[in-house]
Symmetry: C2
């Protein structure tokens, strides 16, 4: 088992070579990885079987076992994912702008690789492949630290990817997986200043909080989404129902799912029964304010202060009747996590004010919050959804994994 510092040194030593790879080299590497994953399906499934058996022994719940489980179809999915990343435009080298200064200096901003990208994630073997492929395409070496329950699968996948690169004469040390899954190794990884140029946690709220609290390397905070749908007094109520049901029920376990409904008092009596009807088909449990309960009755459990801030990630929804657009915006800006927020309205000014004044990565008029996703936004791939304001906000595609440098062409200028 290679220790953290050795891996970090390897990643750092490889970063120049990875950064210099052209698009053709990177494409060749990604296609070789895809082929290797499919060619070694049996090895991957064997390694995965060990993780699953161990998962049953330690009593992992069925949801976690499912996320851990690989199948031939899921392996093909990972391989196809690599091929899709290979087909994306290479973000590296683009000069975003170049200007000539009065003294003749030509100053340009060029998109360049990050260097070494660290990713800490949970027991999801597919993230090992997704993350490595995206970092490689973005011209950076990666240092991956996945959840211990998937360590056999992840190790097998990482070795296959490294082998595929090496066979193509490409730097295997572009991809580094930390096999030491102790908490101590994670904590030390968060403080690898001088080695990691950025650290991205992918996973649940606890993991992300731990990284934000403890890291001294630059972090991109991803994830948790306490997303709201606000039904304005001027809403098309049928559209509002469709959007709400989609935002809550199409996939409640993900971060762009709605967790809270706000309804303007002027339409609450008409809209809430419609909404309750649509949500009942999915068995959604409602936590409502007093006015909601007065309209929908006591099957709605009383919402506590805590409910306004909760990310249920399940068929549950908090519901509040508000008296104005201002109250809706204030409520959202108080309780949201800066992810995705939607207003349903036919009113021009309400739409514009919501877009302007709600503080979140993605703000919608008349559409489901579920669209906050790299694929849906047209980025082609996604490493996560940033809920911080620094560097990247919202779905992060390949460009979010790059940085810029200023390139300056002179002919002897001094100051």
């Amino acid at each position: 088992m290679t220790d953290l510092l050795t891996l970090a040194q390897r990643a750092r030593a490889a970063k120049s070579a990875v950064a210099r790879l052209g698009m053709n080299d990177k494409t060749r590497g990604l296609l070789a990885i895809a082929d290797a994953l499919e060619a070694h399906e049996r090895d991957i499934l064997d390694a995965n079987a060990r993780d699953i058996a161990h998962g049953h022994e330690i009593g992992l719940n069925p949801g976690l076992i499912d996320r851990l489980t690989l199948t031939p179809a899921r392996i093909k999915g990972m391989a196809d994912g690599c091929r899709e990343v290979a087909a994306l435009r290479d973000p590296i080298g683009e000069v975003l702008w170049m200007r000539t200064r009065p003294n003749g200096l030509r100053i340009g901003a060029q998109r360049v690789p990050m260097g070494v990208i660290g990713i800490i994630y949970e027991a999801r073997p597919n993230v090992t492949v997704d993350a490595a492929a995206l970092c490689f395409k973005a011209g950076s070496a990666c240092l991956l630290r996945g959840g211990k329950e998937a360590i056999h699968s992840s190790t097998c996948l990482a070795e296959l990817m490294r082998g595929a690169l090496a066979e193509e004469g490409l730097p295997a040390d572009a991809i580094n997986l930390l096999e030491d899954t102790s908490r101590d190794s994670a904590n030390r990884m968060m403080r690898l200043n001088g080695y990691l140029d950025v650290l991205i946690p992918r996973g649940g709220a606890g993991l992300i909080r731990a990284v934000v609290e403890n890291a001294s390397v630059p972090v991109i905070e991803t994830g948790t989404g306490n997303c709201h749908v606000y039904v304005d007094e001027h809403a098309d109520l049928k559209m509002a129902k469709n959007i709400l049901v989609n935002a809550k029920c199409s996939r409640p376990s993900v971060c762009n799912a709605a967790e809270s409904l706000l309804v303007h008092a002027a339409v609450a009596e008409r809209f809430l029964p419609l909404a309750a009807d649509g949500l009942a088909a999915y068995g959604v449990k409602l936590h409502g304010c007093e006015r909601t309960r007065a309209i929908l009755g006591s099957t709605v459990v009383p919402a506590t202060e805590e409910d306004w801030g909760r990310e249920y990630l399940d068929f549950e929804l908090s519901v509040k009747v508000v008296d104005s657009l201002d109250e809706a915006i204030d409520h959202i800006n108080t309780y949201n996590t800066g992810h995705s927020e939607s207003i349903v309205t036919e009113h021009y000014d309400a739409a514009q004010r919501f877009l302007d004044e709600v503080d979140a990565a993605a703000v919608y008029v008349n559409a489901s919050t579920r669209f906050t996703d790299g694929g849906e936004f047209g980025f082609g791939a996604e490493i996560g959804i940033s809920t911080q304001k620094l560097h990247a906000r919202g779905p992060m595609g390949l460009e979010a994994l790059t940085t810029t440098k200023y390139i300056v062409y002179g002919n002897g200028q001094t100051r």
Copy 2:
């Protein structure tokens, strides 16, 4: 004395109002601040006199006393700085791109304010005004924490600025200065998650290291510059001498000054005496490798391993003879701080390789490293120079103090 949490709450409560200000409001506020500074010159000088007297009592060195000292001309300089910031283009509201997706959703990336910007800096009263003006123009509230030796000056300046905004009917809580200059308050400020959207340290290496080590809020690391000039075998040696002398001697105390000279062995015997001659006029002390000492003699002190990493910030320079461009690039990528690096060469491929392979915020061909500056780059103002790769790299103008949000216009789309 208002405590940290109360100030942070005030800043957070004000951020929506500040974000909504249009360019006209912000211009009015900045011009009112400029006028107030000039109108209250006497009050400012009185407060400053208390700091200076205290500085002498505690034995501050002359350099620090000078940075602390305000004069009528310096007060006018701060006021004019506000007027210059007022005249800059407003970065807020610009839609960087907007695309229509296949499902009809229109998705745009819009530049929006950060929210609350924290700035920790040393005993320089002018930073209180510069930082407040830039944050205000960028549509954010600020929470400022300056060095304790300048607290009377900074408090006076902050109160004048807040008063000027209030008189214009603008939110005074856009500007908040922490009067508690204890180390404990700084440490607590670094962990104000939920209040600060970003924290920028401005100052020396110790301050920046403390913030990077201890902060849990997102940080933009600024500053230290171990900048190199590499004189290639194909350099115009006269140009190389001019660039080197300018980079080292025009203002050695700043972060974009050169700290190290690398010379290709093929030109070392011709170039080093030329360089030494130019540097001797400024009394520059040289720390050289063995080959440098063999050429220049024993007035050059032997360079230690430590010298390659040092930011002298003074009339001192480390000097190393290298055998190749590769060795120069490797040396720089090993010891630099990611700030500014320059090659002097007439060779096309050497120039391009240096630009591509040196990992730094600004990479120059045939120009002095001293140009790494917001004004010189045409940004009009500067809050600092980022040496990290996340969010902003190199000189940070107004745009670096903003973020983006995705605005999405739909007509009922669900996923």
